[in-house]
């Protein structure tokens, strides 16, 4: 399964009651053969981590994967950062949520976790052997934009390439400029 498909399934769940989500996941598990994904004409295997609040629009995910980049991990608030830690169900919703927030994976939007976030992110990049870090932002005054300059410098010093893409709502129709950036980013990592 590629990231585009994976992110789509996850996003379908955002607006589906939990029973519906279980059904979607079950049927996907049945029908899928889980052979490792190879992107179109992808001979290289440059690993990247995607970061941001929401996954990028699917046209962008496709452009990333078709540019010969493999999404080896995500640092997306609504995906990995949300499901990275799941508390034990104790039957007490209050207890569950205290646990959920106290032990939540460090997230830009969980203000007090900011000190732990940089380390966690570096661990993720190292563990997944990613060569690139791609940040997908919403063009607005957003939490991440305060962090990105620091992060960018830190990662570049460690040899990780960084690309920031900023979107406005309904930016899908203007995809050409994003494709250029993504493909150039891929070319830049080409040996």
């Amino acid at each position: 399964m590629n990231f585009t498909e994976y992110a789509q399934i996850a996003q379908d769940g955002y607006f589906t009651p939990v029973e519906g989500q279980i059904q979607i996941l079950k049927s996907r598990l049945q029908e899928h053969d889980f052979t490792p994904f190879e992107a179109d004409g992808c001979v290289r295997n440059v690993g990247v981590i995607l970061s941001g609040i929401l996954p990028p629009p699917s046209s962008i995910s496709e452009a990333i994967e078709n540019a010969g980049l493999r999404v080896v991990g995500n640092d997306i608030a609504s995906l990995f950062r949300s499901y990275s830690y799941t508390p034990e169900a104790t039957g007490d919703p209050g207890e569950y949520y205290v646990d959920f927030y106290q032990n939540h994976y460090p997230c830009t939007t969980i203000l007090h976790s900011s000190d732990r976030r940089i380390d966690a992110l570096q661990d993720l990049i190292g563990e997944r052997k990613a060569q690139g870090f791609m940040f997908i932002g919403e063009k607005f005054c957003e939490y991440e934009y305060f962090e990105i300059p620091y992060l960018e410098k830190l990662l570049k010093d460690k040899g990780v390439n960084v690309l920031s893409l900023e979107f406005s709502i309904d930016d899908d129709q203007n995809i050409g400029t994003f494709k250029t950036r993504i493909e150039a980013f891929s070319e830049l990592m080409e040996e």
């Binding site: 830009t108 940089i118 005054c141 934009y145 960018e152």
Partner: protein, 422 residues
Amino acid sequence: MSADKKTKTGHKKTKAGERLTKIMTDYYVDLHKGANKGKFVVWGAIIIPAELLKGFDSVVFAVPESHAATRAAKALGPMQCEKAEQMSYSMDLCSYARIDIGTAFDGGKGSPTFGLPKPDLLISNNNNCSLLVKWFDVYHREWGTPHFILDVPFCYESQKKKDLNYIIDQYHDLIRILEEMTGEKLDMEKVQEALNYTNEALKHWKRFISFAANRPSGITAFDSFVQMAPILTMRGTPELAEHFKFLADETEERVEAGIFPIPNERYRLLWDNIAPWHQLRKMSSRLAKLGANIVSASYTYCFGSLEGNFDPYHYEGSDPLWALARMQNTTICPTGLGLRCKAMSEAIERIGIDGVVFASNRSCKVYSLMQMDQQKYISEKCGIPTVMIDVDHADVRKYSEENAFLRIEALLESIGARRAGA
């Protein structure tokens, strides 16, 4: 300078205006002097309990937001914003933040106050703007300065007792940290004294902004925007109380003497959002030519009023920590739509407002996000015309005067048409 000196806006420069320049200059000089003498420098968000810091002799208090506003009003916004943008801070970030980051990382260059002395402690909160916490985190990361984050629950109704106690608990943490870092014991009597000064100042501030209800209005919102600087930086000081007494007294005298900023006032407007710092003169004089006056603004109530009410809160001498926790729920940002609409509609009624200018400001998400719903509510509930314009409070590069005035003038025409039809 004589009291009769005319400003570019066409109305007479007040003595309180001259006095303001002096006390703000003194404040910044004292701040730098204090820091040079080794005092403990706190950078804080505007709503943090500044009076609490007065309980420590060794602490001086600097306010990045107010400092950024000062520079924006002096047309230095774009220059400092660009510095931050060149360091990869997005141009979509709050313009106060960009100005502040640009100035701070350039060692205060280009700032009339030589920037702010470097902080020993950062105190932010998530109740005037949660993005501000990330802004302060920039310094925390870059300089390793400790950062204390006050967590204030968002409210949709009156502050709950458990929320108040939760805030007080955090004050105890803050006191402990300050005591450890400064090596000084908190003097609660001084906190009490500081609160009394703030309370006295707020009493006069209320007198001052109430002259908006006079016809014609005794003030313009532009005057009150400028006079906000000390309430953000000098809370808990006798100088603040004295200054606001002077300001209210002078305004009272002028009203009694029949001196009004816009004598031919035909349209009385309310402004909703942060002040358009780079347009104070331009906008007020262009409005004046149209016989319009923005007499009041929700922003001028951003400190000292409680949720759902524009009127400044009156402290009656209870436990200082309790009072400071109570004042964390101010009328503007950390409150739900219902409370914001209630406060605004009451003020419209009381002051006699003909139309509301909602300034949508991409640089201030917390202020702007609810405005469309609020506009709808106010138009229906108060039955007055309203308009939405685009403004960035401190970055003139994102503002179009013609675009804004096209809509403001249409608002005035619509007020006129209603009168003609009435």
